[in-house]
Every structure is written in structure tokens, then in C-alpha cells.
């Protein structure tokens, strides 16, 4: 009799643990999605600002062309080429900013401040996203999660390469 009680008890605990882990995982997947959505919006905004900068007097014709190309690429890239496109845009912006700081006029300065504010936000968004991804990966590597397929059909989240190079 006592054995039966013990067995039921253990089974209940195990079931509770499974459901708890599944909820936890679900929450993490949600976090990955929302944090990526955030980052995505910010990156799109950055591409738009980059285009504006390319059209302004800050950029000389050569860097303007470079920037326009990079911005369009980042805008239209599909999932596979996204990372590379964003890195390219970061690089193009970095090149431009390096030597334009002192010769910008007031109107252009507004654009540059907007860009630097955006860059700060992107940095924060990247930190939030990579953290969500690594937490999810950690939980998904657990034995229980694998054995009982608690993740269901959700794809394993990954971080993008462009997230690791500082803007």
C-alpha cells in the first residue's frame, strides 16, 4: 500500500516538473521572439537613418554610394544573408563616422545624434536578445527537455554573427 502511495507521489512530482519545464521553455521561446522583434525594428530604423545620412551632406559621393548599397542590402536581406548585410552596414557607418564628426553642420548633427542614440539602443537590444537565446539553448540542452521533446517543433534559437561585433 505504502509503495503505491510513494510511486504515485513520485509520478505526480515528475509530471509537475515536466509541465513546469514546458512552461518555462515556452516563456523563453516567447522572450527570444519578442527580443528579436525589438532588435529587428531597431535595425530597420538604422537602415532608414543610414539612407538619410547617405543623402545628406555628411557623406561624400563615394561613401554615400557605399552606404546606400549597404542600407538597401540590410533592408532587403533574407534570413540567411541578414547577418552579413547588417555587419556590412555597421562597417560602412563606422567608416563614415570616423572622419565626419568634426565637419558636420547642425542639421547633419541631428542625424548623427539620432544614429548614435539608435546605436546605443541596438547595443542594449542585442544584449537582451543574445541573453534570451543563450538561456533557451541552455534549458533545451537539458536531458528532460530532449527526452520528452518538451520543445515540440520550435526551432532552436540562434544568435547572429553580427551581434558579436560591437557597433
Amino acid at each position: 500500500m505504502l509503495n503505491w502511495f510513494a510511486a504515485t507521489f513520485i509520478l505526480l512530482i515528475a509530471l509537475w516538473y515536466l509541465s513546469f519545464t514546458a512552461t518555462r521553455l515556452d516563456r523563453l521561446h516567447h522572450r527570444v521572439e519578442t527580443s528579436w522583434a525589438n532588435l529587428d525594428v531597431l535595425l530597420q530604423k538604422r537602415a532608414a537613418v543610414a539612407l538619410e545620412i547617405a543623402h545628406s551632406d555628411i557623406a561624400d559621393p563615394a561613401s554615400s554610394m557605399l552606404l546606400t548599397g549597404a542600407a538597401y542590402q540590410a533592408r532587403d536581406a533574407d534570413i540567411k544573408s541578414r547577418s552579413q548585410a547588417e555587419s556590412g552596414l555597421s562597417g560602412a557607418l563606422g567608416l563614415l563616422l570616423e572622419d565626419s564628426q568634426h565637419l558636420a553642420t547642425a542639421a547633419d548633427n541631428a542625424l548623427l545624434t539620432e544614429l548614435s542614440a539608435l546605436t546605443d539602443k541596438i547595443r542594449v537590444a542585442i544584449a537582451i536578445h543574445t541573453d534570451a537565446v543563450s538561456r533557451t539553448q541552455m534549458v533545451r540542452a537539458k536531458f528532460v527537455v530532449k527526452a520528452f521533446r518538451l520543445a515540440g517543433t520550435a526551432p532552436l534559437p540562434v544568435t547572429y554573427e553580427f551581434e558579436s561585433d560591437v557597433l
Partner: protein, 392 residues
């Protein structure tokens, strides 16, 4: 900064009526957010519930536990849990901001009880603590629910990555820099003077390091004066000072904010000899903003805040000989003092609330997605129903 008015719930783990860095930070942040047009409610333990400002909700009376080299007044337990849940379900918040959610407190309880947009701020910087190994598995799923984490300094971030294996965005503590920027020089504090502000009775504030350094300093600067401000009973400390040097020290007691600004502007050097347990050093930020030339121990938080010596001089922590050397060096070189305090003053501006709150707000924005609100977590909802029946 304001895009739309938010309903923000902030949870303070420590008793509202005891002074402390975290409480001050939350008070300033809440008041800043309210002034910016947001609706803010702060949940905090309180000893005397009648003295609370309008925006603070009491969670009950705190209990005292030793934590991180000091006594923390926190609160937890089933009654507190019920209060936290009630506050969450009635608040209809857009976002919760939990402070120090990794210690047993109402912040952790709130983290457990809620679901939705949550931001956590980690203040403490501590050496690796064994207890985390025991409670880590319980803590992790809760901390994981936070949509974004903020650490107040590099030291606090390292503590977090060390203990809980998760990263954070660094946003420093805020000060009202403008309050300190226009201090008047008062002749009573000028000359070869050293300033110290803090609860000097606590060993980790390091006043004894300064006391031990004074004999050497006095040899080179016979007219040296040390002003110690801060709450506490000075008789024990005074006894520990060499009788010949006792008159070099003056204890001012607790001083007002205006006096603090004048104090920072007047003294030749502001010394922070803290030996550890400090995660940010708000007083240093205030000293910088007030235009003081700062000398601080090289504990990680201070090293970071002073830009590795760019905005203030550093000495080897707990080494009074080194402290004496640095102080004498600076007392002799007015040019260097001037340079450091000028660099420090602009550094102090970067901790102003207008800058810091903006950063915090952008983290808020990133945590809020769509119109999702904070609600009770599904795993505690049934438990809640069970308890509220009990209440009736």
C-alpha cells in the same frame, strides 16, 4: 522621452524607512518617472506605514537578516507573497521593475508571481557565495522570466554572470548632478583638507585606513584637517585615533544635501577608502559632480567609476601607506588636482538622472511588446485562488 504614459510597478526589496543606496535609487527613479508623466507604484517593506510617500505601498514589516557584510531589512513568507500577488493583480501594470531580485525578498516573490514584461536591476557586487549553489536551481527559472536585466556597474554585472550565468546591460545609478554642480566654496572646509562622507562606523567604509595613513600625511602636511561627515557615534572611532592627531579630525555628523554640495566644492581632496562590498559608489559620483578631486581605493566598482584613474586618483585598497603617498602627491600638486576635478566634473554629469532615466526607459520600451500587461503567472494562479478563499 515620453512616448506614452505607462503604469509602472517598482518593487523595493529593502525596508523603505532605513537609509540605503537601493532605496534612494528607487525613490529618485520613481519621482523622476512620475514627473515625466508616468503612473508609478512602489511596493516596499516598511516599519512605519504612516510615513510613506503617496506612491509607496507597504508590503508589511521587514525582518533583519545578515547579508553581504551588512544587515538587510527584507521581507518574505506566505503573507508577504499574498500581498505581492494582490498588488500585482490590482495594479494592472504595463511593466514591473524589480530591484535585486536574486536575494530572498519581495522582489523575488514578485518575480515568481508575475508574468509579462519585467525588468530586473542588480545592485549587489559580492564574491561568489556558496548559498547560490544550493538555491540556484530554484532561482534560475524565476530570474529567467525577466525580459531584461540591468546591472548598476561592471562589478555587479560580473557578480551576476558569476552566480547566475546570465548577462546584463550596464546602466549606472543616477544622481541629481545639478544639485551638486553649484556648491559654494566655504572657507571653513578649505585649505589642506580631506573630506569623507559615509557611515564611518561600518568597517567596510574604510575610515580606519585613512586614520592609519594620517601620521604619514601629517609629517608632510602639518596643517592637514580631516572632515568626516555621516550619521553615527564617533566616540569609538575617536578613541582609536592617535591622541596627538585627534584634533586633526572633525566629525560633522549627518549633513544636508546643500551642505554636501558646498563640502564637495570646498575640500582639497575627497577620500573614499572603502574596502569592499561596494557595487557602485553613489557618493563618488556625487563627489565628482560636485567638482571634488577624488581619491579612492581600487576596488572594482571605484576603479570602473573613476575610469581606471582618469577621473580620480586610485590607491591600493586597504594599504594606508599607498593612500598617504597618493594624498601627499596630490596635496603638493595643485595643477594635477585641478585637472582631475575638471575631468571628474564632466564625468559626474553622465550619472545625471536625465541621462540615466532615459537609458532605463529605453530598456522599459524594449521589454514592453504589444499591449501585453503584467498578470499573475499561471503556475501561481490556482495557488492564489486557494489562498484568497482562505482570506475570506
Amino acid at each position: 522621452m515620453l512616448t506614452r504614459s505607462l503604469k509602472i510597478g517598482i518593487v523595493c526589496p529593502y525596508s523603505w524607512d532605513t537609509p540605503g543606496g537601493v532605496q534612494n535609487h528607487i525613490r529618485d527613479l520613481a519621482e523622476f518617472l512620475i514627473a515625466a508623466g508616468h503612473d508609478v507604484s512602489v511596493l516596499a517593506p516598511a516599519i512605519d506605514e504612516t510615513l510613506l510617500p503617496e506612491y509607496v505601498v507597504s508590503a508589511g514589516k521587514p525582518i533583519s537578516i545578515p547579508y553581504n557584510g551588512a544587515v538587510a531589512r527584507v521581507l518574505f513568507g506566505p503573507v508577504a507573497f499574498a500581498r505581492v500577488r494582490q498588488w500585482i493583480s490590482q495594479g494592472d501594470f504595463d511593466l514591473l521593475h524589480l530591484h535585486e531580485p536574486a536575494i530572498p525578498s519581495i522582489s523575488l516573490l514578485a518575480c515568481w508571481a508575475a508574468d509579462g514584461p519585467m525588468v530586473g536591476t542588480f545592485h549587489a557586487a559580492a564574491k561568489r557565495q556558496k548559498i547560490i549553489f544550493a538555491i540556484g536551481p530554484i532561482l534560475e527559472p524565476a530570474i529567467e522570466k525577466l525580459s531584461a536585466r540591468i546591472a548598476v556597474s561592471e562589478a555587479a554585472r560580473l557578480t551576476l554572470t558569476d552566480h547566475l550565468d546570465t548577462d546584463a546591460v550596464i546602466i549606472p545609478n543616477g544622481i541629481y548632478a545639478s544639485r551638486y554642480a553649484h556648491g559654494k566654496k566655504q572657507s571653513k572646509w578649505q585649505g589642506n583638507t580631506i573630506g569623507f562622507i559615509g557611515r564611518f562606523e561600518e568597517p567596510r567604509k574604510g575610515l580606519s585606513v585613512l586614520v592609519d595613513a594620517l601620521p604619514i600625511i601629517a609629517r608632510f602636511a602639518p596643517d592637514i584637517k580631516v572632515f568626516v561627515a555621516g550619521p553615527g557615534d564617533s566616540t569609538d572611532v575617536e578613541k582609536s585615533i592617535d591622541p596627538q592627531l585627534r584634533h586633526r579630525f572633525e566629525f560633522l555628523g549627518k549633513i544636508s544635501e546643500e551642505d554636501k554640495a558646498d563640502f564637495m566644492a570646498s575640500v582639497s581632496l575627497y577620500v573614499a577608502p572603502n574596502t569592499g562590498g561596494e557595487s557602485f559608489g553613489i557618493i563618488l559620483a556625487e563627489a565628482l559632480a560636485g567638482g571634488a578631486c577624488v581619491v579612492a581605493s581600487d576596488i572594482p566598482a571605484f576603479d570602473d567609476l573613476l575610469g581606471h584613474g582618469e577621473f580620480g586618483a586610485l590607491f591600493a585598497s586597504e594599504d594606508s601607506t599607498d593612500l598617504a603617498k597618493v594624498i601627499i602627491d596630490l596635496l603638493r600638486d595643485e595643477n594635477k588636482r585641478q585637472k582631475l576635478s575638471e575631468a571628474g566634473k564632466s564625468r559626474g554629469q553622465s550619472f545625471d538622472w536625465t541621462v540615466v532615466a532615459e537609458q532605463i526607459y529605453s530598456v522599459y520600451e524594449m521589454s514592453i511588446v504589444g499591449s501585453e500587461k503584467v498578470r499573475l503567472a499561471s503556475d501561481t494562479r490556482s495557488w492564489n485562488r486557494f489562498l484568497s478563499k482562505d482570506d475570506k
